[in-house]
């Protein structure tokens, strides 16, 4: 059993939990055709492998990690876009695996995704109005009320001149404008839970701040529970109170963002924090404490997955998977803190 159930928060009832992931794993078979199997070439990629956490109502959590650590897969799992291989995801107390039919429609209304690439997330053949109307159609909003809601949503994301852009096609708009549309589309049904998958990574730096501010304001105004997926610690710090650091399909550290940034516990979090350039001439540039790249996800190291890059690795790291250890407000998955 790889999954480790997150420790229940003592004395608190679970009613303010919006999302609860319990030992969630998603494995992908690669090279699963007959010949590859016969040649022994087929392998299992453990994109997400035993992740547990809970999100409380109104919380904004950053999911941080480098490319290929499974953070996007985790976002897709939370939204029931892919089924988990094992473990369970509870949305407002209900296992998402059992949601279907009318309940699935209700779930789609309340859980939304903001896409990474706004140029891809809108159908090029539909006008902005048609794209924005689609969630409303699906939710059964009467035709007469749609335009009002569309305009309201565009106002919410501070889209400039909403009246003019409605009949445009995506290719006639800039990335920043499109990302606002994508956000408007996600927010138009007033969801309670939003996953933002690197929403500014495809945008010019000059428009990033605007989008991030909108995201932050909207989240506060609507009281959204949000997950912000990113590889950029600075962005996560800007929009999230809590940060979950992932490495190769596992959580390594989970705690308030400021604490993680100022005093990272896990060696990997330390490396991430060090990797952020500091724009100050006096600040000495510390060398990264780790070397090499992330190992092949098809064949991760035994025990702690970070051990082959970790400067503090010792024998126990190779044989035993680290359990969650509570350190103040934080949970860290590392043998160093197991006294």
């Amino acid at each position: 059993m790889v999954g480790v159930t997150a420790p229940a928060i003592d004395g608190q009832d679970h009613r303010d939990e919006v999302v609860r992931a319990e030992g969630v794993a998603k494995h992908y078979q690669v090279g699963s055709n007959l010949i590859a199997t016969l040649r022994g070439r087929s392998a299992l990629v453990k994109a997400v492998d035993g992740v547990s956490f809970t999100l409380k109502r109104g919380e904004s959590v950053g999911l941080l990690g480098e490319s290929g650590c499974g953070k996007t897969t985790m976002g897709r799992l939370l939204l029931k876009l892919v089924p988990p291989t094992s473990g369970s995801i509870l949305f407002e107390g209900r296992d998402t695996a059992t949601i279907d039919g009318a309940d699935l429609r209700a779930f789609r209304r309340s859980a939304q995704l903001i896409f990474q690439n706004p140029f891809e997330a809108l159908n090029p053949r539909l006008t902005i109005r048609q794209s924005l109307a689609e969630p409303l159609e699906n939710a059964g909003v009467p035709r007469a009320e749609r335009l009002g809601l569309i305009e309201e949503a565009l106002e919410l994301v501070r889209s400039p001149s909403p009246a003019e852009i409605l009949e445009r096609y995506p290719h006639q708009m800039s990335g920043g404008q499109l990302q606002r549309i994508v956000m408007a589309r996600a927010l138009i049904l007033q969801p309670t839970f939003v996953v933002a998958d690197e929403p500014v990574s495809m945008l010019d730096v000059s428009v990033r701040a605007g989008i991030l501010n909108v995201f932050r304001d909207v989240r506060e105004r609507l009281g959204l529970t949000a997950i912000y997926i990113s590889h950029d610690l600075a962005l996560v710090r800007y929009v999230c109170e809590r940060t979950i650091v992932m490495y190769l399909g596992r959580v390594v550290e989970d705690g308030p963002t400021e604490e993680v940034v100022h005093e990272p516990l896990h060696p990997y979090s330390k490396a991430l924090v060090t990797a952020v350039p500091v724009p100050h001439p006096d600040q000495s540039h510390e060398a990264l404490p780790i070397h090499g790249g992330a190992p092949d996800a098809r064949n991760p190291p035994s025990g702690c997955r970070f051990r082959d890059r970790c400067p503090h690795a010792f024998e126990r790291c190779a044989v035993e998977e680290p359990k969650p250890i509570q350190q103040g407000n934080r949970t860290v998955y590392c043998h160093l803190f197991d006294s």
Partner: protein, 310 residues
Amino acid sequence: MPSETATTTQAAYPSRLNAFVSGLWRIVRSIHLPLSDPFAMIGIIIYLVFFLVAVFANQIAPHDPTEILFTESYDLAADRLPGEDGFVLGTTSLGRDIFSQLVYGSQSALLIGLTAAAVVAVIGTIVGLISGYFGGVVDMMLMRLADIAFGIPFLPFVIVLAAFMEPSIWNVVFAMALILWRDTGRVVRSQVLSLRTRAYVEAARVSGSSNLKIVFRHIAPNILPLSFLYGSIAIGWAILTEASISFLGFGDPETISWGYMLQDAYASQALSTGAYYWFIPPGVCIVLVVVAGFFISRGYEEILFPKLKE
């Protein structure tokens, strides 16, 4: 009051007409007719000409194509040369007007071509959409069916089918429906496999769209040009097949088609008597229609696969 309702209906009527026209135009645009390609344009014009000839066959043809004609002196008007006694392309050995046969032949060609194209495009597209979008067991079963269809030789299959059923031009359409969906299905499926991973398809799912809605709104419009391409290829195939079947003598003796004309000419030894006016016109018509299909598909090739253009 009545006058007011009358004006409102009048006002509503053109707007509905407008909506219909603009809807039609949207469909035409979504098919992406390769209008800029001169060859494709020639193909479309050829189709258009044959279409008009078929529609107005009654007006164009001077005689009933099966009627045995006599001259004014009550002689059998057989084996007349073109222009002789007012027969534009002459007559057959049985005294039938070749030009009228040619005109009416375009009718059956059109009928077979269009129905076969529609059947092939529709079945292939639906199979491809279902197979590509849903994947899994459904995909496997449909693709194994396609494998079987690929394994069946087409012309012998039509002959066997004709042997089991009454000779009719619909045999060809039926056989094409049973077999030729395989190409369209395979190609559409591969396209759907790539389309369904697009972010906007996932975005549609997140926004609560049903599978049906995703397939028809977000995926199908992108593969319509492909379906139409395979449809236009199928027109040529159908006419060619019908001609082959008729020439081999398995066709419908009641229906005048270009293949029937060739068979008639062959059986009457028109080749050895040098009656070129008899067998060349239907041959040319078949070639023109098939080539038109090829031209149009060539035009599509440049739209669908622009990298091939070099």
